[in-house]
Amino acid sequence: MSEVADKVKKIVVEHLGVDEAKVTPEASFIDDLGADSLDTVELVMAFEEAFGVEIPEDAAEKITTVKDAIDYIEKQKAE
């Protein structure tokens, strides 16, 4: 697993208080991990802080799964 994926997973586990095993790439924050809309906003803010990237609102809306987050951050980092 990439470093980004690792860190994203850790943030999700910490923030949502879910079991690490449940945080699969396909897991949806809201449907599978029990997040509400405020949680997703907080997660995006936590990602921004942890990775030093900016995630604009329209991009944030499309980040619904763990993989979405990893892909977006890796793409930002590569640029």
Partner: protein
Amino acid sequence: MSADLFRLDGKTALVTGASGGIGAAIARTLHGLGATVMLSGTREAALTALAAELGERSHVQAADLADPKAAEALIVGAEAAMGKVDILVNNAGLTRDGLTLRMSDEAWAQVLDVDLAAPFRLSRAALKFMMRRRAGRIINIGSIVGSTGNPGQANYAAAKAGLIGLTKALAQEVASRNITINLVAPGFIETAMTGALTEEQRAALAGKIPLGRLGQPADVAAAVAYLASDAAGWVTGSVLHVNGGMAMI
């Protein structure tokens, strides 16, 4: 019901406009109930004097809230100085009165900026921390004028009415995180601002108030203290009018 419900021991509060009449009373009251307070305003000497009067559990950080960047810096500073901000009192405010026909864009913008945009920015910054702690209180100081309007105060009335909308929207956004947002709407309160009135003018004003006197800063502070306390744990998105009955709304 125990009186302890109204105590604020171990709690921390940031009060903006603490150099003013009502803000100082709010700071004194919260401090008297046991809270640690951060006093903010632009006139540092007045803030330092109040901190000296209060003694321990008081901090000072000056900030010009007309500057959009000042809000976040103030919250970060208050969090650092006190370890947390449990209670945010958005009390700083100003007026630039004039009939609309003669009101400049600048007078409009300045009042909207300090009286409405600054509470929005301070709340946004404070909520980031409160959300993590799953606890917090924000108390906005509005005005009777925000509900009734007042000739010569189009900018101020609009800002204070806007603050009610902000209070209610925000209250719904963060209720699930055990954070309450309420507004205290004072009527006519005796402060330095109203000190310029003649005896006659004061009597005329008091005559319009069912309870027969002008309000004191402490009347407003008591309402704030209630909303900040555990006693008000189930109150959010509400407007508490403190106006001697001048407008029963």
